[in-house]
Symmetry: C2
Subunit: 207 residues, 2 copies
């Protein structure tokens, strides 16, 4: 398997995977990059380049075999194994994400939540147990969790990040407004919903 | 005011604005692009280029006047006026976003929600009234709402989009997995939380 693929490509993989499953569901067994392009609004050249990182997957004039692509992406995206992630900070947004807990067909689940509120610790919120922060390392190791979602107040975001890193976390999805510092080897993905909405508003008003 | 600025720049404006407010709060009245760069993890050249779209804001060797920058970005980002947005689809994620309703200092609020569930219509969820879909046009016009958040099931996402466009919506924040089609002049911003998380997992495992 190719080792290093560009981040932009990695970002499109779940999209491809989901769309290919829709095709299979509609009994479509073959697809061209042009058809894929139209449906997912990514241009055909980009799709061909993305796929090329994984070796020859299609044939000129024939297109791509849908089932073959799916089982390929399944392996790449670990769709055959459930990935457990942790959530730290069961406030408004944290509760919200526990309740949402990602799309059913995504094979990703929040399986442990952490908070400092004694009222929450030991309780089950939207089917997810809430643990104390001091149980962090133990739970992450027991459940083999490498990814954590941070929905804590901005003031303690860096401190929580440091604890997560010490406990062996390798990837952080950061919903706070803080730009986190993490050592090399720990990947931070920032999602700032307020920022996204403000950008949209700005673009509508001034674009 | 500059008319067309790059999307990447627009995306950083709320970040700048928020960070500058932190500085003012800490009684810091002057900042260099290098200092800004270090704190928000955007390189100094990018910051200078971003700021240059808005004319001369700083002085060589002096840096930027924090208060001047803030009042400038305030105007640009319409921070002095509250922007109301609508949310369509009060399911798991919809509820979650109503509950979160964006950061308190953001001057953006969801002020109307829409759903088809008779149990929800007419109720108040997390301080936001829920209306029937047939009240869409009327409410959007009355409340002068131009931006909508879509958290409906994928199967009806396009249909809802069409209705929103007919009702005069100019910007859509799309939380569904569907790639929406909208006429020119209507801006669609896709936020796929499941996709973001899967990408993070992929990068941690294969990056």
């Amino acid at each position: 398997m190719a080792k290093k693929i560009p981040e932009a490509t990695a970002k499109r993989l779940p999209l491809y995977y989901r769309y290919l499953n829709n095709l299979l569901y509609a009994n479509k067994l073959r697809v061209s990059s042009a058809e894929l392009a139209e449906s997912i609004q990514v241009d055909a050249a980009t799709i061909r380049r993305d796929f090329s990182y994984f070796g020859p997957l299609g044939r000129r004039g024939y297109g791509y075999d849908v089932q073959k692509l799916i089982s390929f992406f399944e392996k790449i995206l670990d769709q055959d194994t459930l990935t457990s992630v942790a959530l730290v900070g069961v406030g408004n947004l944290g509760h919200a994400l526990l309740n949402f807990n990602f799309h059913k067909n995504s094979n990703v689940r929040i399986s442990a939540a952490f908070d400092i509120d004694p009222e929450l610790i030991g309780s089950i919120q939207s089917n997810v147990p809430v643990y104390a922060m001091k149980q962090l390392r133990e739970q992450l190791q027991d459940q083999r969790i490498e990814i954590a979602i941070i929905t804590v107040p901005a003031t303690i975001a860096q401190q929580v990040t440091d604890k997560l890193v010490q406990a062996g976390i390798k990837g952080i999805m950061n919903f706070t407004t803080v730009r986190l510092t993490a050592p090399e080897g720990v990947r931070v993905q920032n999602i700032d919903l307020t920022n996204e909405l403000q950008t949209l508003i700005y673009t509508v008003k001034h674009g």
